[in-house]
């Protein structure tokens, strides 16, 4: 009788590993080792006044309908209006309670599923690695290594497509968004009467509150809030008047002309006076220059114009070369986009003197 050598037969090894994993799973109850709290009796579906009790919800809905209709028949009766508002609020809070209970259950199940899947894949990887160590034959080792590679690639695909790594980030977004929406709903229940905030209007807020606790809702808010935060973090150009826009063109043409001359190293008799003119205009607007340099230094690195020279006095400006003066005009220009009223004085300083 031919006896198979288990340590060289890859199919035997894999079978042993698979059986071990299955036994571990069965023992642990299919991954449900992580216990979570059960619902307290007050929240049970058969408990009186429980938000998850269908009959309770139906009774409150009926009371709201009756009090709303009674108020509609006598809209000037403030007592009926208060009663309708009270019943509306009861219905709203009952719905909120149901959504909260659902969300907590969803959170619990998702956590257990993540832990289960991570544990399963860990065990498969460990099992396959151990099988490689135990086996003797070259072919056995190769085939088990291929199987291990499959498990690892599958793990990466599951993590990527089911957003396992990002799930906690999404849950954090859910919790934050739910709290924000709940705050708005509670505020309206206190401040707005039945005409301003009927239950139908509250229901659309409640739908948004429910959606905020879903993966799709969290992804949507993550994108929106990220985009908004990026927009808010970026500086805003001050809206200019037509006159300011018109004035900017001769200014740009003037500094273009001066820098063309200032950078013409072949003609120092032209470049020298042009550079001096550019420097003098900055010295005449020294407060603007220092404010602009300070703002540039405080800006995020990606938004900064490279400029390492100190500017604490007019002499510092005189000491700068044409390249540094170029940078300084860019820095001042960026500052002026937030303070467009500062352009006029700088433009005046650059003008040719009247003959």
């Amino acid at each position: 009788m031919k006896i198979r050598n288990v340590t060289t037969n890859p199919s035997c090894i894999l079978r042993l590993v698979a059986i071990s994993i299955l036994l571990i799973f069965l023992y642990s109850g299919g991954g449900g080792v992580v216990h979570a709290q059960n619902l307290p009796p007050a929240l049970g579906t058969n408990s009186p006044l429980s938000p998850t009790n269908k009959q309770t919800y139906q009774e409150v809905a009926k009371q709201y309908t009756e009090s709303f209709n009674a108020w509609r028949a006598n809209p000037s009766d403030s007592g009926l209006a208060d009663r309708a508002k009270l019943d509306r609020n009861r219905l709203i809070f009952l719905t909120i309670d149901q959504i909260d209970v659902n969300f907590n259950e969803y959170q619990k199940k998702t956590r257990k599923w993540r832990a289960f899947w991570a544990t399963l894949l860990d065990i498969l990887e460990i099992g396959a690695s151990t099988a490689i160590s135990l086996s003797n034959g070259e072919r056995a080792k190769t085939e088990i290594a291929e199987a291990l590679g499959f498990v690892q690639l599958s793990r990466a695909a599951v993590v990527k497509n089911f957003s396992l790594r990002d799930t906690q980030i999404l849950f954090n977004k859910m919790v934050a968004k739910r709290a924000q929406l709940l705050s708005g709903i509670i505020s309206k229940t206190g401040q707005q009467d039945i005409t301003q905030y009927p239950f139908e209007a509250a229901f659309s807020d409640l739908i948004a509150y429910y959606k905020a606790g879903t993966i799709d809702g969290a992804l949507e808010h993550l994108n929106i809030d990220t985009g908004a935060e990026a927009s808010q973090a970026t500086k805003q150009l001050v809206t200019v008047t037509q006159a300011q826009a018109d004035a900017s063109l001769p200014y740009a043409q003037r500094i273009a002309d001066l820098f063309k001359k200032a950078k013409d190293t072949n003609h120092p008799d032209i470049s020298g006076p042009a550079l001096t003119k550019l420097k003098n205009a900055l010295k005449d607007n020294f407060e603007l220059v220092t404010a602009a340099v300070a703002a540039n230094a405080a800006a995020p690195a990606a938004d900064r114009v490279a400029f390492a020279n100190p500017v604490t006095s007019a002499a510092d400006i005189d000491a700068l070369g044409v390249s540094a003066i170029d940078s300084l005009y860019r820095i001042v220009g960026r500052f002026i986009t937030e303070h467009p009223d500062k352009l006029q004085k700088l433009a005046e300083a650059l003008k040719e003197p009247q003959q």
């Binding site: 924000q180 708005g184 309206k188 990026a230 808010q232 970026t234 500086k235 150009l237 986009t337």
Partner: protein, 116 residues
Amino acid sequence: MQRTVDGNTSLKDQENTLNFAERVAIVLLTSYVRGEPAPSPPAPTPGAPPATTVPHVNLATFKDRDITVVPTPLRLFEVTGGLTAEQIRQRESGTEIVFVADIWVLGIVKKVVGIR
């Protein structure tokens, strides 16, 4: 350099603001897109002033340019009346299309072409 532009202003105001930035900050516009509106402000507490309108912003991206070369003025047009951006460029005798995008104009999304 990236800057936002108030999307609650008119197309002409936005055109003026972008041209001003190009000339004064020594840059050239490379793209102009719609930013997402900021989240709505929370419900006001009793006695507090009413919440301001939701700001709309457009995001402008610029690149540094040669300080000795002043760019041709940028002009913004709404893409409407069945015309394409290219047809508008030809109609307005523009030499290049800088961007075509859905942006905020007076708080409403409009398809706009920027040409020079």
